[in-house]
Symmetry: C2
DNA sequence: TTCACCTGTCAGAAACTTCTTACACATGAC
DNA sequence: GTCATGTGTAAGAAGTTTCTGACAGGTGAA
């Protein structure tokens, strides 16, 4: 996990997921231990639907993982915890990742130069 | 540069700057050597005003640096190059950065401001 | 039943990002 | 002068992100 690099597209998704103050705080809070949605929402001071949205974004980037569990008194609780990611960002690493980007232009390939 | 960590707010700016396929390609291209705006625009296949906007975003995040120079034939050329950044993203590092986020909530929390 | 918890989703407003097109200016060469 | 090169900026459309408020369901306990 710690060693394999994401593709360019995955990297963009990951960086976009982290590029938000609230999501950074969610990650920071979960770094202190797993928690369930409603409690986490109170902890951070955010509405539950909003937190739900942000957790989805973090989860689809692979930065947190959720699991639905039953508490002792029978309630369904969705616990989230961080996955142990480890990204190293340097110009060289980004250049490497950029080579696997899909979506530069409609048509990519062997440099179609201008032909008027 | 390589050793000092950005504040939470700076980190968000940096991550947001990198969380875009086109900007990732700009960084990747500049990693191969410095270049001036018009040439870089042709290289990547993007309009110059668009590239200008993205370069501003990268520059204000501190990821690239631009300098206006005079070419041999007297034209003003704006050259951009990569600053050698080195970011290490782990849950612990993000938690650390999140402590210096300004803008936790509208109501609570002292928002330390920068000097004007 | 009613209450206090938990889960999820949807619609719409507001704000931001991205991109194009058009304009402004400069220089040197023809 | 005109042309080709370079610079920068501004207006507006189109799309995405962020957030609130309201809705749906579930459980166990009083």
């Amino acid at each position: 996990m710690t060693g394999d690099r994401p593709t360019g597209d995955e990297l963009v998704t990951i960086l976009a997921a982290l590029a938000n103050p609230l999501r950074l705080r969610i990650v920071a809070t979960l770094a202190g231990g797993r928690d369930y949605v409603s409690h986490l929402a109170r902890e951070i001071g955010v509405s539950r639907p909003l937190l739900h949205m942000h957790l989805q974004r973090l989860e689809s980037a692979g930065l947190v993982a959720g699991s639905l569990e039953l508490s002792d008194d029978g309630k369904a609780m969705k616990y989230y915890e961080i996955t142990d990611f480890d990204l190293h960002l340097t110009a060289a690493a980004l250049a490497e990742a950029a080579r696997t980007l899909t979506a530069p232009d409609p048509e990519k390939g062997p440099a179609p130069k201008e032909s008027p």
